[in-house]
Symmetry: C2
DNA sequence: ACATTTTGTTGTACATGTACTATATTCCAT
DNA sequence: ATGGAATATAGTACATGTACAACAAAATGT
């Protein structure tokens, strides 16, 4: 594992779209194992691949990759304070 | 040289700030030769390094790196049509 | 319960990113 | 014109990203 981990939302983004790793891999033009490595954070992609991923999901790189762990989309969209407690 | 080139504005950004490659390299925590390689586009950085560069210049990755060649800042800021012709 | 698909693991191989050393060249100041 | 700084070039070495194959484990649908 690399010293400086980069977190990503690949698994979630992929799940939201109901894609298998193989699906995503084909869309990106990489081996399906590579998607696995990335999702598990075993290494971070090249900048080139990061751009392809960004294009694929139509999201800026910063929305997909970060040095800080991501908060769940759900949490970000429905903040703590606004949640129904019952 | 890598197949898929990624263009960047490193040289310009560095020039704007009056930094030597060594200065920038120290700021980024890389070898000064590495900055040279990047500026010349001989290879593109790891995503990790791209994030460090993004932090250093306080710009999004997309403002510094692109698959398409960049138009000069000057041109982008002062579009063709608005230029004085005399 | 079974078959199929999806995901994880291990191992090998190769390409690319980064560091480092050394030397050459270009660019400024003075 | 000389010297020092900045940049370019070349070579070696090592780390990390990516592909590929084989197999195990888990999840899913019927």
């Amino acid at each position: 594992m690399p010293e400086k981990t980069i977190y990503n939302r690949l698994a979630v983004l992929r799940a939201e779209r109901g894609l298998s790793r193989q699906d995503l891999a084909s869309g990106l033009g990489v081996n399906y194992q590579t998607v696995g490595y990335l999702e598990r954070g075993e290494y971070s992609p090249s900048l080139e691949l990061a751009f392809r991923i960004s294009d694929f999901f139509r999201l800026p790189i910063e929305a997909i990759f970060s040095r800080e762990p991501f908060r769940p989309f759900s949490e970000a969209l429905y903040p703590e304070e606004t949640r129904n407690t019952q």
